[in-house]
């Protein structure tokens, strides 16, 4: 998606340790106009797949999933990272390593909100090593739901998580794939 690539080049910041900061428009301060276009673009890719539920993981995936949900007319389920007083004990659960946060966390969705009949699109802001996506795919599998595909706003292609999913046959759509950012220079993968 050209608009997102241009925005990354303009406002993204590359830090040591292969960290790309896009907090100014994607995952801390969320640019409403950009997110509208991201939501439309995700819908355009999966519109014919009879998606009836979008799944993401707290916190940064929620905004993108909501902007896509309007077009699918589908609810958004977000996997949670901490149990609260209002959570049922009847959950699908998996562990996810976060390279950004450091360490592992247990993520879960309540069973009553994810059903065997669901046709699920997984959405997240970033795809790097693919740990969050892998965890969400596992939750979909535990429920016996159908994984229609995955969408990520930004894929760090050089970290391999995206291509590993594609090799497994997952219909993964990343709006911007970064193939390298050596010395702070961001190079995008050519996409159709």
């Amino acid at each position: 998606m050209k608009l997102l690539e241009e925005r990354i080049l303009r406002d993204g910041k590359v830090y040591p340790g292969e960290v790309l900061k896009v907090g100014g428009f994607l995952n801390h301060l969320i640019d409403d106009g950009l997110l509208e276009e991201i939501g439309k673009d995700i819908y355009a890719h999966f519109r014919d797949k009879n998606v009836n539920k979008l799944i993401t993981i707290e916190a940064s995936g929620i905004a993108i999933a909501c902007y896509a949900a309007r077009h699918f007319h589908a609810p958004v389920l977000f996997a949670k990272k901490s149990k609260t007083a209002n959570i049922s004990s009847d959950c699908y659960t998996t562990e996810v390593v976060s390279y950004t946060h450091g360490g592992k966390s247990t993520v879960f969705v309540e069973k009553e909100y994810l059903r065997a009949g669901d046709r699920v699109l997984i959405i997240d802001d970033f795809l790097a090593h693919g740990e969050a996506m892998r965890g969400l795919i596992e939750l979909v599998g535990q429920a016996g739901a159908v994984l229609v595909g995955c969408a990520a706003a930004i894929e760090k292609g050089f970290q391999g998580g995206g291509d590993a999913l594609r090799a497994k046959g997952v219909d993964l759509y990343s709006l911007a794939v970064i193939d390298s950012m050596d010395e702070g220079k961001i190079v995008f993968r050519e996409q159709d």
Copy 2:
């Protein structure tokens, strides 16, 4: 907002300890159609106030803020609870007690995303004791930004946080105010 009150009565569940569970439509599985109406309703209340930024707190407030943002054509800033590799050290910070999660957490926003000139509407899913709102108001104050008002989808009126904010002169709009839920019976406050 009648639609939300009806949905709470239909699908909300009251548990011991004054816990109201609305995970089936508001803060775990998010009902796209309902959120559209909530977003419109918040906008209708604050449309003439020149809001240029919406602030919420991760995770459950994000969806509501995004559905409102479309109408304000304003960005959404969400306060974060954990520092990650891509976060600047230059933050406005406060501590918030969570009765649902148990314990205190430090929440923050990066200074560059909240400015003295901003006219801010704070949005959250729940308002109970008012701790999260109080924390967000404090962050707005630290930045020297203008607090235009606060919106909560559901206010647990009997826990007093909302009325305390009103007594301080905050323009607080709660779409549904629950005055009691003794023995599982939900009673809403009459609103204009």
